[in-house]
Amino acid sequence: MRILVRGGRIIDPSLGLDFVGDLLIEEGKIKGLAPKIEVTEEVREIDAKGLLVIPGLVDIHVHLREPGEEWKEDLESGTRAALSGGVLRLACMPNTKPPNDSPEVTTYILEEAKKKAYVTIYPIASITKGQLGKELTEFGRLKRAGAVALSDDGKWVADASLMKKALLYAKNFDLPIISHCEDPALSYKGQINEGNLSAKLGLKGIPFSAETIAVVRDLLLAKETQSPLHLAHLSVKENIPFLRWAKEEGIPFSAETCPHYFTLTEREVDGYNTLAKVNPPLRTEEDVQAIKIALKEGLIEVIASDHAPHSPLEKEVEFELASFGMIGLQFLLPLSFNLVREGLLNHLKLFEYLITNPSRVLKIDPPCFQEGRPAEIVLFNPEKEWIVTPEVLQSKSKNTPLLGRTLKGKVEAVILKEKVFLI
């Protein structure tokens, strides 16, 4: 079977391509790309005029909730949402029930994924047993079972000596360590950003220091161990000078943020809107601008969704009882594309942040348009507007403060090996 994607703007950050042309797929593999391809044999043509034709996005930060919390999401629904958002590979965080802290759970996730996942899944295992921050997990056995990285996401490894051991031991297995930077003593009982909104709502605030202190400690440990460190979901302005310093020092690190941290502010939680309760919390306009500058400067070079589904059982409750998190797989590309619209990143750079950089962190080959590679192709219409309604969200959970809003930019189709999904 042949598919010809015609007349789209083909962008591939791995190959450094950005041109208008045609892309031919044969038997689920990239056959060729050129400004004009003529095919004499039978071919399914897809008109991509006005669309961006890009390799599948790689989302390094996703919560799929399976095993254990399948009422919120499972491997099938979560990867359906991913597909709709153009995310064709994703790494899933280990805070499942039970947590992914043993090869058995890693194996379970991969076996289930074979049966029902639409996209490629890379399990992230926890750094410590039970994510309790006390004892390291079996990095070697986890790696053999298929884990690609380690993280206690949702929790910081507060014991600095243990974190150092984790960074060292990870070297034996080439496993990146992903840190959720939050000093739990400073964020104790915290609900939202510490500032005018926490004052207004009478909720305990989470100060910027809770994040930046953790960032700095982990950068120092990465410097000392020379082990690769990935900083998850950065949200505050105060990190920036330290990231700049770490780059100058040549510390082996990468930093990530999520669309909500450069799109939304703490004002979303006004009126006790639990849909905007997320950790780290939405911050201020000043932080939003700082995160954008960090992206522009390349201090932060990975954008991930931190897709965190929760059902009304966890969200339609008293604010302090509500779970942290919002869904994000279907917003990753539309919201990130605003960075191009605003002139902060060019197209190639944006897709480095969404495809090649996260792949490099996970030490995987990124999806790309090289001849012979499997087709992992996303057709994105940057001009199409759509309204966020529960019906268009493919996730089992609908927890997002964006409900009812109009977003610009939509994934129109995905070509995954032999299959074409029209979205």
């Binding site: 009982k189 005018n196 009478g202 305990k204 605030g205 006790y272 339609e316 409750v317 008293e318 604010f319």
Partner: protein, 309 residues
């Protein structure tokens, strides 16, 4: 006004109206038979998820004077112990035919959460560290009665501001009515530096003082707050003795205030900690007037919400 959720969403006109209504209604309390039929047939649900003496009995008394019936709910012995959610509980109670809900809850924003999900008026009787609007209204009424004005006064609030919903409501209420508010206390129990802007309704009328003297000097009203030991869970102060010696009020501190300045306390008082025992005899302490005005203010709130007046 559909609900009474907090002071922050009230205008100074709305506050003045409630106070005026309360002043008018207060007279009923002195009648030989202090009862009027105004709210006959109305059913008020009192939902107290936290201990309360003054507020709870004050609301109950206000209902009785206005002839409203009450249903009292306490978490103990209810379906909450079977794991029923707050929202399910309240929806079920509404189905019983309740006309208004008064709620006190340990979590900030719970009254707002209920107001979003049920159709009848909700009155906040204290939510977490957020607000306690009827307390602020009764404080305003007390000060207005005694000093004949609410504008251009210097109000000093001393103590655990951070965990105090009373302080939050008072800080906003007194500023809205045209007075200046000075807060002081252990810096660990004051709002975080990044939170201060919210409290400054008028930049010249709000000040955080690290020296109690600065707040107390020339004050027209001193509001002492209770040290909320049960809310801390973290060591904010080294000891109660340390607190009493540095931030507790004694006759010596009250030499700094204006002659005749009022002393308020929302209760319950830890005598010997935030207030020294000698202050039981301070001639201008109006702590029991506050309690009495609480009934009048709550009558006004119930009446406004249930009759649309």
């Amino acid at each position: 006004m559909r609900h009474l959720l907090d002071i922050q969403s009230l205008s100074s006109e709305e506050i003045a109206e409630i106070l005026k209504l309360a002043e008018n209604l207060k007279e009923i309390l002195y009648r030989a038979i202090p009862k009027v039929p105004t709210l006959r047939g109305k059913l008020v649900l009192l939902l107290f998820y936290e201990p309360s003496t003054r507020t709870r009995f004050s609301f109950e008394r206000a209902c009785k004077v206005l002839s409203a019936d009450t249903l009292s709910f306490s978490a103990k012995g209810s379906s909450l112990e079977k794991g029923e959610s707050l929202l399910d509980t309240v929806k079920n109670l509404c189905a019983v035919g309740v006309n208004l809900v008064v709620i006190r809850h340990p979590f900030s924003g719970t009254p707002h959460f209920l107001a979003k999900h049920i159709k009848i008026p909700v009155v906040n009787a204290g939510d977490g560290a957020h607000e306690h609007p009827t307390q602020a209204l009764l404080d305003l009424l007390t000060v207005k009665e005694k000093l004949n004005t609410l504008s251009d006064l210097k109000i000093a609030i001393i103590g655990d501001i951070k965990h105090s919903r009373v302080a939050r409501s008072d800080i906003l209420a007194f500023q809205k009515m045209g007075s200046s508010v000075y807060i002081t206390g252990p810096a660990t129990l004051l709002p975080e530096p990044r939170e201060i802007d919210f409290f400054k309704l008028n930049p010249n009328k709000f000040k955080v003082c690290f020296k109690p003297k600065e707040a107390l000097e020339g004050a027209d009203v001193v509001i002492a707050l209770r040290v909320q030991r049960e809310r801390h869970g973290e060591p904010f102060i080294p000891s109660l003795k340390e607190y009493a010696e540095n931030f507790g009020l004694t006759p010596r501190e009250l030499e700094l205030v204006k002659p005749g300045a009022l002393l308020l306390h929302p209760g319950p008082i830890n005598w010997g900690i935030e207030l020294s025992h000698e202050l039981q005899n301070y001639p201008f302490q109006v702590i029991l007037d506050q309690v009495e005005n609480g009934v009048a203010v709550r009558m006004a709130v119930l009446l406004s919400l249930l009759t649309g007046e």
